[in-house]
């Protein structure tokens, strides 16, 4: 084993330990804010694994999109639904958790035996390396053009759908007398409870 292989194995082990530990933290910790930050650690170590696999472009995209966008979005979601509530205890919740853990361990054992028993036909061609970005661009504009365009349409649909779903109801003031004594710096939209309250008052 030469030096490069040793470095690869050691960094693979470190990244794998980081990733599995953070993923367990995401699932098992009780504070959801810690879970969100550990999710960021999972994404960063996943991008390190991508670099080990000669996929520099995907690693950069992972950092940009997951850590920069998805993780921040999740943190904003946590802040927006920031409600301290103690969940009502369910009878025999531990039983469900135990069964789920058993099923997951069984699934891992199944996948593990499948992975180790399959004779993978590992290719001996030289890896694309830094040429990967160029090759991805070629693929995106030749044989994967239709999925690429469909993905752009899907992103547009997701954008509009998210706005429509998360927007509060726009309820303009129907009586002009209310607008005079209202504070000046209010948003033209109001939450649903306030809107129903004012409607009850005016009727």
């Amino acid at each position: 084993m030469n030096l490069a292989d040793g470095v690869q194995i050691v960094s693979l082990a470190i990244l794998a330990l980081m990733m599995i530990g953070s993923a367990l933290g995401v699932v098992l910790l009780s504070s959801i804010v810690y879970s969100a930050f550990l999710l960021g650690a999972v994404f960063v170590s996943m991008s390190g694994l991508f670099i080990l696999l000669n996929a520099g472009f995907v690693a950069a995209a992972q950092i940009l999109i997951y850590v920069g966008a998805v993780n921040v979005l999740i943190l904003f979601g946590i802040m927006l639904v920031n409600k301290r509530e103690d969940f009502i205890e369910i009878k025999n919740a531990w039983l469900g958790r135990l069964v789920t853990a058993a099923v997951c361990v069984g699934l891992f054992a199944l996948l593990g035996t499948m992975i180790l028993a399959t004779p993978w036909s590992v290719s001996t061609a030289v890896a694309a390396g830094d040429e990967a970005t160029v090759i991805i661009g070629m693929h995106l504009f030749s044989d994967y053009l239709l999925p690429f365009e469909l993905a752009s349409v899907l992103l547009l649909m997701a954008l509009i759908g998210a706005i429509v779903l998360a927007r509060r109801e726009f309820l303009p003031d129907d009586d002009a007398t209310d607008a005079t004594n209202a504070p000046v710096f209010t948003l033209p939209e109001r939450s649903r409870e306030l809107a129903t309250l004012s409607r009850d008052k005016s009727s």
């Binding site: 696999l53 996929a55 639904v81 992975i115 030289v126 994967y144 998210a162 649903r192």
Partner: protein
């Protein structure tokens, strides 16, 4: 031999994600578990692309597509969670009796 290491890591991450998806009661944690699942699949795709198809890296193209879809999914998922929270005033998965009878 290295391919198996990556596949085993991805399988472990997938199983952790499924455990979180089934057992967590906070709706936002469910979304995080879905992200874990998507990441595990992505690691599988990139590993296959590096070891089985290193010259025509089709797996990386699929990985980019999966990242795109995951971003769209998390945006729509968070919007749905926010709108449910606004209507029901809770994020407890056990208290949502929508879409079930």
């Amino acid at each position: 031999m290295q391919l198996e290491y990556f596949l085993l890591i991805a399988a472990a991450l997938f199983c952790i994600g499924i455990y979180g998806l089934v057992t967590s009661r906070n709706a936002i944690r469910v979304l995080m578990s879905i992200e874990l699942l998507l990441n595990a699949v992505n690691l599988n795709l990139i590993a296959f692309s590096n070891y089985l198809d290193p010259s025509e890296i089709r797996g990386q193209v699929f990985g980019v597509f999966v990242i795109t879809i995951a971003a769209a999914e998390s945006a729509v998922g968070l919007a749905i969670v926010l709108s449910i929270y606004r209507n029901r005033d809770t994020v407890d998965m056990e208290q949502f009796n929508l879409l079930k009878w």
